[in-house]
Amino acid sequence: MELRIDSGVVADSRRMAAAIVDPVSAFIARHSTVSVERAVLRLLGVGGTGGDDVPLANLVVESLSRRDLAAGAALRLGAAIAETGAEPEAAARLLVGQAEDAFEGVPEEAARAALAPHVERGVARIAGRRTERDALLARLPQTAPPLLYVIVASGNIFEDRTAAVAAAEAGAQIIAVIRSTGQSLLDFVPEGSTTEGFGGTYATQANFRIMREALDEVSERLGRYVMLTNYASGLCMPEIAALAAVERLDMLLNDSMYGILFRDINMKRTFVDQHFSRMLNARAGIIINTGEDNYLTTADAVEQAPAVLASQFINEEFAHRAGLPDAQIGLGDAYEIDPGLEDGFLFALAQAQLARQIFPQAPLKYMPPTKHMTGDIFKGHLIDALFNLTSVTTKQTIHLCGMLTEAIHTPFLGDRALALENARYVMNTARHLGDEIEFRSGGIVERRAQEVLRGAHAVLERVAQRGLMESIAAGDFADVKRSPDGGRGFDGVFERDARYWNPFEEALQPALSGAAR
């Protein structure tokens, strides 16, 4: 099954995406954020909390003067270590509450040298978890894609664990722990295991570990490596990426613009944060999942299709710049077609196949129907079935199973079993449909695909002319307008000064050239 599309338009769209990202990359290179710095501290071994249960990484960053921050938190920590010989966490505690000019006298060289072994240890830890994953995957191979992905979201990590294990037994290949509603707006990562989330469960290092352990156990039992995923988004995007790398998560929701558009997070903050978090993901072997589905949950799927494709091109470009190879770029899309639309299924097929052809190496992530799901669980189950059919026919890679109770509650354990059964049944009974059929040339499907591609190209052209930040400000994406200095977390963005040093940026850089295609 191959749609005839104009490869010239595809190539030109990629060129345009590069032109769009260029100036943003330059901006990123000149800036850092509090969350990037906290991520650096965490990777250096600064864990735990200080007074009032505030994470130590936050306390350290808050204790730094604006001027010191501009040089990067690592330098100050290095100075403290150089002077005291303490381990990073102990050194960090020293920094907190010290006078602003404490350890001022330590030469930069000494500070850097003092940190060197800790940087190495940090990178080794990440690389080690990656090697571990590779070994597990080799020993416990997964089923053929589409890889079945389900969410758990009870709010209580221990019920989530029960749910995750049950889902794995029922055929799930990837488990996502959905976050509690407010978390993306928190400017710190909560600590410890948690049992009180709303619409999801807090992302914490302890929770990551609880799930990873449970899934490792069930993976061994099933002889099939079950992946774990969470959200590197919101105000703590880089820190979550750091924690995920260390706790061997396998995927992360990690979009270059989602927070801006859908959480009103400042765009500069987001651009800087996404870059560093993706550098970490690249090294950790974590597959990112982008959030194009969000364009479709509030607006019309037919109308928004070009916006989805345009965003995929932009996400791809940002990802490449952070060193992510295609095999780690899980571009998003969703089956949000109106179930009442005549030939809607054909439209969905067209869009999914288009993405498959344009991004042949990407582990595409296909999201289920949500917007048009209602309390009629019977109808909902059918919409999910056609979604499943579209996914297997167009060979999507990461398949988020739709729940028949989508409009009602976060999934019950039984809902998940039914959803997995749905996917397994449909994908098996129509396993090779995609290999069997060709679309009529000049037909509904092919024309639709061509139209979407042309539309995306037009969007990219406009954005390239205007500039990305200006386009977002003008409401070119998702019909929302965000000003460059508005939104949450802007005060956490700062310009790097000449002394600025992020040891991991340096340490991870070499990996890039080879990895990116």
């Binding site: 979201a153 009870s154 209580n156 019920e159 749910a163 209602t374 309390g375 009629d376 669980i377 019977f378 109770t405 409009a407 009602i408 509650h409 976060t410 999934p411 019950f412 354990l413 039984g414």
Partner: protein, 244 residues
Amino acid sequence: MNPVKPYGDTLDDGKVQLSFTLPIEWSEAADEAARQLVAAMGFNDVAVAEGRRIAGGFSFFVVYASTPAAVDVDAIVAPSHAGSALSMDEIDALIRERVGRKLRVAGACIGTDAHTVGIDAILNMKGYKGDYGLERYKEFEVFNLGSQISVERLTEFVREEAIDAVLASQVVTQKGSDIANFTALAELIEAEGLRERVLLIAGGPRMTNLLAAELGYDAGFGRGTVPSDVAAFVAQRFAERVAV
């Protein structure tokens, strides 16, 4: 004591999904009627997820609610019939050694029921789900009378052929037709003075061992039964009879 409640996403949350049709025109008030009805059934936290008109004067509802009811799983009488899972050879051996003669089994779809697939699955050589049917056993003499057999004809056959075990099947259950036919058979067998002599066995997709007991049968077999379940039961009962 091990009380168990339905599990939604948290232990003991008691979550249950319901759906039903009400013979009333849909309106917002109909949703409220559905909510009150489910509350009247004893559920808590009733949420009407869907309510809509499906035809003039009829509305359909999907409801989620929590039940306060629990069941003590420790107190469940295992409804399983076969005391132990025996193989074909073991069953044959049991009959040979303990009964000392072939057991004569007659099966039929009684009444006007023509669903023979179920009873054939138990009796035919080929069997079901990889488990051989009774015809394959050395120690059973099997008579498969087929479908739409009246209870009179079956009873007559039982007498004339000196049958040891009667296997009656009912797949159509509408308006209690299965119960009526099973009851008629049990009564006729009793009236004809054959009850002591035969094992009376009922089967069909809605049959359970408990229901069969209520109907005066020796055993009942439902959904998913395999032939060896039945064979083992018959063999063991006759082995016991001889032992006594």
